[in-house]
């Protein structure tokens, strides 16, 4: 495994943003994470330093032995990397906000293409995640299920025949599975239907959140829909139900866009046009303004208004404009104002070929 090579990671093409997937005009990516723990070892919240080290080396060894995350994998020890690089891993959706605070005893193992990540000693001993572009929960489940089987041959999992996989938080017990799809829903937001849609989804027992999980807002019209319940249903049943709910949401979004085009065309064109203006001509750009304008451009690309720009270029910008990425690209620390200038320059450069067809 390659240790602590952020530079190499930064050069990666981020598969879940840059590659094509089903229904990618609205569904950006599909993710599943499994929470697993080692039998007989205290969970990180109650663990001593020795316990943490023990579970860390046990998991790292199992990953190495099972070869389940591939030959050119990365491993990052959280006590050996800079705070800004933790932020960078967070922006790439490879670690959680909670994990950013972790240091000794915590590590992150990654498949070379970032499609699989294993957080060691987050809230649970293992948080395994698989991430693919577009709407493909079933495929993601197949990938992560196989990996989980391989790891389980090396590690005795904490399991109870009635309660399933035992986790530090009882909200994860059972399958330990959280499946989610990231959706871009400008049509529902612009037409004022998003609130009703979110409430409808909540009533079906699913959660809707901002892009970086709990406690973040919905900048860029990006929403993450996931299952709440992990007990009483099989993994396949959860995925099937979630899949159904998300397909409905995608249909609502499509209808909302058609409706806007038919009944409120200038409002929609204005939204896309202003976003175009900002991204092409601004010299300072806050993170929020950038995300919202990128959402506008993405809407325009989806509707065929900009044939010269690829959807994936816009997707990748959603990642590149984040603070830690900007500073890594710049190769130095940038304060908030400097970042806004650098961000505007980066966006202008990347979108220089963006020409409005109309």
């Amino acid at each position: 495994m390659i240790e602590n090579n952020i530079e190499k990671l930064l050069k990666n093409k981020v598969s879940w943003l840059a590659d094509s997937g089903p229904a990618e005009d609205i569904a950006i990516s599909s993710r599943i994470r499994l929470a697993r723990n080692i039998e007989g070892v205290p969970f990180p919240i109650a663990a001593s330093a020795d316990n943490l080290q023990h579970s860390q080396s046990a998991v790292e060894m199992a990953l190495e032995k099972s070869k389940s995350i591939g030959g050119n994998a990365f491993i990052f020890r959280m006590d050996a990397i800079e705070p800004i690089d933790k932020q960078l891993l967070l922006e790439r959706r490879l670690i959680s906000t909670e994990f950013v605070q972790k240091s000794k005893g915590a590590s992150l193992a990654l498949r070379g293409d970032e499609s699989i990540a294993v957080m060691v000693n987050e809230e649970d001993h293992l948080r395994i995640q698989a991430l693919r572009p577009g709407m493909q929960l079933q495929e993601v489940w197949d990938i992560i299920n196989r990996l989980d089987n391989e790891l389980e041959r090396q590690l005795p999992y904490a399991y109870d025949s009635k309660l399933g996989f035992l986790t530090s938080c009882p909200t994860n017990v059972g399958t330990g599975m959280r499946a989610s799809v990231m959706l871009h829903l400008p049509g529902l937001v612009l037409s004022g239907q998003i609130n009703a849609a979110i409430q409808g989804v909540s009533k079906l027992g699913m959660a809707v959140r901002g892009i970086f999980g709990e406690g973040t807002d919905n900048r860029g019209n990006l929403f993450q829909v996931s299952n709440q319940s992990t007990l009483g249903e099989s993994e396949e049943q959860i995925i099937e139900r979630l899949d159904g709910v998300i397909k409905q949401m995608i249909n609502h979004e499509k209808n909302a866009r058609i409706n806007l085009l038919e009944n409120n065309q200038y409002f929609l064109l204005d939204h896309v046009g202003r976003s175009y203006g900002v991204l092409r001509h601004a010299y300072t750009l806050s993170s929020e303004e950038a995300l919202n304008s990128l959402s506008g451009i993405r809407t325009g690309v989806d509707m065929g208004m900009f044939s010269s720009v690829d959807l994936h270029t816009v997707n990748e910008l959603f990642l590149s404009i984040n603070p830690a990425h900007l500073q890594r690209f710049a190769g130095k620390h940038l304060d908030s104002k400097e970042r806004d200038v650098y961000r505007a320059a980066l966006v202008r450069e990347r979108l220089k070929n963006l020409n409005s067809d109309s």
Binding site: V41, P42, K162, S168, S229, E235, Q237
Partner: protein, 191 residues
Amino acid sequence: MLCDICKQNEATIHIQEIINGEKKTLNLCGDCAAKKSKNDPAFDIGGFNLAEMLYNLSENMEIPGLKLPEEQQEKAGADDTAAKLSCPGCGWSLQGLRKTGRVGCPQCYKTFRSVIMEALENMHRGKLHVGKKPGGSKDDESPRKMLELMNLQKELDELVQREEYEKAAEVRDTIIQLKESLKKQTGGKSK
């Protein structure tokens, strides 16, 4: 991040409201969320109310003489309260569980079983794991089918109550089929 209301405890619940297109984020600790959900009916996010669930959880743990698993009851003695219970596996206490919403080790699920089981009912769609088992197999299909049967029965009752007889008939047929297949399975096993 500290709780918006008491500004003392770590906020563990983040709630977003969109009112007339304006976003509001509320960051709360478990205690304040529980209080708020009690006083503010609009706080119910439909079907799954995390705050209410936490409230129930914390309330349960404050009741002295809460029913404990038998072996714990013997150990603790009749006068002891549930609040003094701690896990022999990791030393985790009920207070720890209440404060963080987390347990300390796999054994905690046995130690705090009665408290956890009640909370689980509010969190999840069922009380029994029907998914993957270590070893990757799901050889026994019957728990899943039993569960489905229970859900369908409930649905049938509701449909009849709402006088939606056509749909009720469909559900009834599914129930009959499911019962048949369960009979075959369990019958096959016992003979």
